[in-house]
């Protein structure tokens, strides 16, 4: 507000009014968009506590419009009164949930390991695979991002069938690793480029090998980037639906497949669908709230050169 000094009282007040108007506009816009972002989540969580008439009337506010009930959670076997008893829906749900956890965590770990190694190599040494040099190799890895899943889906269906990998966790883990690998390499390349090579040179003068220097000196510095890449991979693999729907049937299907398979059948029971959706999105909402810093860091990598 450097120019303000030169204004007199009359226009000064006008200035302040404009400032207040600006504040109100900014916070109004922020609140509006926050509402747009949060309302669907709020709606899903509250619907899981509604009974049929509440759903039909479109009641919104709990304790005001309707009395929360455990209907939706009971149908999943996760309400307080059913949690101690034996429940087939809950076993089914837990099985899918564990599939999702195992598959997304393993795929993300594998992708971060493979991707970090490759990104480190590409940022430090010059390679030559046939006619391909470093920029070509980097491009080869990153170009996988363009590949739409549908191109690989049907060949993999046939290949997995003959390899007996259909409907197996391993099959999905391998595919998911492939889909997130370019993103990991993208993030990690940026990360390693920011670490000065003098660090490794000093370590190697002290007698460490390349791998020793990488594991003991570089990795700890690059850890935040690896966490960012891991979490971003986790989000993508946890939510993946297309491959899971095509390649799994009974044993290895993940939560998104379970959610999707409920929608058509037996008329929609809104409360149980809401409970299921809530349970499916809850882990990532928690991750998003707690680790927002890393997610933003991961997505911002490469945006600013």
């Amino acid at each position: 507000m450097g120019t303000q000094v030169f204004h007199d009282g009359e226009s000064d007040r006008g200035h302040r009014a404009a400032w207040w108007a600006g504040r109100i506009a900014i916070y109004g816009a922020l609140s509006l968009w926050a509402f747009i972002c949060l309302f669907p989540i709020f709606w899903t969580v509250t619907t899981s506590f509604k009974m049929a008439p509440d759903v039909m009337k479109g009641n919104i506010l709990p304790w005001w419009d309707f009395r929360p009930a455990w209907l939706g959670w009971r149908s999943l076997g996760l309400s307080p009164d059913t949690i101690g008893t034996v429940s087939t829906p809950r076993d089914e749900f837990m099985k899918r949930f564990m599939n999702s956890v195992v598959i997304s965590v393993s795929a993300s770990t594998l992708a971060v390991v493979l991707g970090s190694l490759a990104a480190y190599g590409l940022s430090r040494f010059s390679y030559r695979f046939g006619p391909m040099k470093n920029p070509d190799i980097s491009f080869f890895f990153l170009s996988q991002l363009i590949l739409p899943p549908v191109v690989l889906a049907l060949p993999f269906l046939v290949l997995y069938k003959s390899l007996a990998l259909l409907d197996s966790r391993v099959g999905l883990i391998l595919l998911y690793t492939l889909t997130v690998l370019p993103i990991v390499i993208w993030i990690m390349r940026d990360q390693f480029a920011g670490i000065p090579t003098e660090l490794e040179e000093a370590a190697m003068v002290d007698g460490l090998s390349i791998w020793g220097a990488f594991l003991t000196i570089v990795l700890p510095i690059a850890l935040p980037g690896m966490v960012a890449a891991f979490i971003l991979s986790l989000v993508l693999t946890w939510n993946e639906y297309f491959f899971a729907a095509l390649l799994t049937s009974t044993h290895a299907n993940t939560l998104p497949v379970m959610v999707a398979s409920q929608t058509g059948s037996q008329g929609i029971s809104w409360w149980s669908m809401a409970a299921l959706s809530t349970a499916a999105i809850a882990p990532l909402v928690v991750v998003g709230v707690l680790l927002e810093r890393y997610i933003i860091k991961g997505m911002a990598a490469g945006a600013v050169k």
Partner: protein, 368 residues
């Protein structure tokens, strides 16, 4: 990323003992021999020349994995320090090549055949019949056209994302809260979104959005009845989940702009509006182009929401290429035709993306 010369200089001792090199060769050759033998035995078994009782192709897969490890080890043995360097990139490269190049080549074979997975006949080569079928398939062309519409919607998403990034970059309190709130839609799975928003909130009778529309004077709100409306609803849902992604990339770009530039503009007497168009926006071009290109790449994969909310309807109006092929396979379990459609789509994407990147490159060059 210099093309030649290592960034990290290592003094290497390339005096490898001859026995070590020989051992490395032996390891690599033995593993390759095992792979070839197992594969040959499996092929012979599959063709029915000999009966070795293989249930599936797993043995070949194991032999291939063994070869992969042996190859990496052999590199270290035969090439010493150079081999240890190659070991950084080699695993990822082997993984991607075996997971992409091989299936793509295999896909090319499938694309020119008639292969119904549920019938016992197996694969039959049918030449160009699939291409001819594609040429006369109005639904496929319609799906391609829809992809153009979906991609164009990115312009609006970009404008909103830019606005939100500017808001988050302004002087505000509780910045972290707003950022987390704006980020959350990205964390939700498209399948859950299609249920939460598509099925539940857009429900014409009691969904909250339908009720809002009714209060605003739209008598019979239906979001998936007319083709245009259905397409728009899908676009809105997809935008809802992906706007945070562009927003964060743009926000990162905004935060990298030095404050002094804005102060200088203000001292020169430029209004906020002019500062934005003449300082901020031009500086944001490279980031914007990156964000939009990545967003296009993700947009071209759109499928989950469409499969789960409209399954392409009404009359294919909301079909994306991916959802169309998905249904094509689900309904007829013919992998041949679906693979051809996917291959054609891939070729179109690669051409379009190459053109776009070239254009973006040329457009941005004078500003460097």
């Amino acid at each position: 990323m210099a093309g030649s010369g290592d960034l990290l200089h290592v003094v290497t001792n390339d005096n490898l003992p001859a026995r070590r090199v020989a051992l490395g060769r032996l390891v690599m050759n033995a593993a390759a021999a095992i792979l070839i033998l197992v594969a040959a035995a499996q092929i012979a078994d599959a063709q029915g020349w000999v009966d070795l009782g293989f249930a599936n192709w797993r043995p070949t897969l194991y032999a291939y994995v063994l070869w992969g490890f042996a190859f990496c080890w052999g590199q270290v043995l035969t090439r010493g320090e150079q081999g240890k360097r190659a070991l950084f990139v080699l695993p990822a490269a082997l993984f991607v090549v075996s997971m992409v190049v091989f299936p793509l080549l295999f896909g090319l074979v499938i694309a020119f055949s008639d292969w119904n997975l549920s019938s016992p006949d197996g694969r039959r080569f049918n030449g160009l019949a699939n291409i001819r079928q594609m040429w006369g398939d109005p639904f496929y062309w319609n799906a391609l056209l829809n992809m153009v519409w979906y991609t164009l919607a990115i312009a609006v998403e970009y404008a909103i994302a830019f606005g939100l990034a500017l808001l988050l970059n302004a002087q505000i309190v509780a910045r972290k809260f707003w950022r987390v709130a704006f980020l959350l839609p990205l964390m939700l799975s498209p399948v859950a979104v299609s249920w939460m928003v598509g099925k539940s909130m857009l429900e014409p009778r009691f969904g909250p959005i339908a009720r809002l529309a009714r209060t605003l004077g739209w008598e019979n709100p239906s979001f998936f009845a007319s083709p245009e409306m259905a397409r728009l609803s899908i676009m809105v849902m997809d935008a809802w989940t992906f706007i945070p992604f562009m927003m964060i990339m743009i926000l990162a770009g905004l935060q990298a702009i030095p404050r002094e530039l804005h102060e200088a503009a203000r001292v020169d007497g430029a209004s906020g509006w002019r500062t934005f168009w003449e300082v901020t926006f031009p500086l944001m071009l490279p980031v914007s182009v990156t964000a939009i290109l990545i967003r296009i790449i993700f947009k071209l994969k759109i499928a989950d929401i469409i499969i789960n909310v409209t399954s392409g309807g009404p009359g294919g109006a909301t079909d994306s290429v991916t959802s169309f092929i998905f249904r094509e396979y689900r309904d007829r379990s013919n992998v041949g035709y679906g693979t051809l459609l996917a291959m054609v789509y891939l070729v179109l994407i690669v051409i379009a993306m190459t053109l776009l990147m070239k254009l973006a490159d040329r457009w941005m060059r004078p500003r460097h």
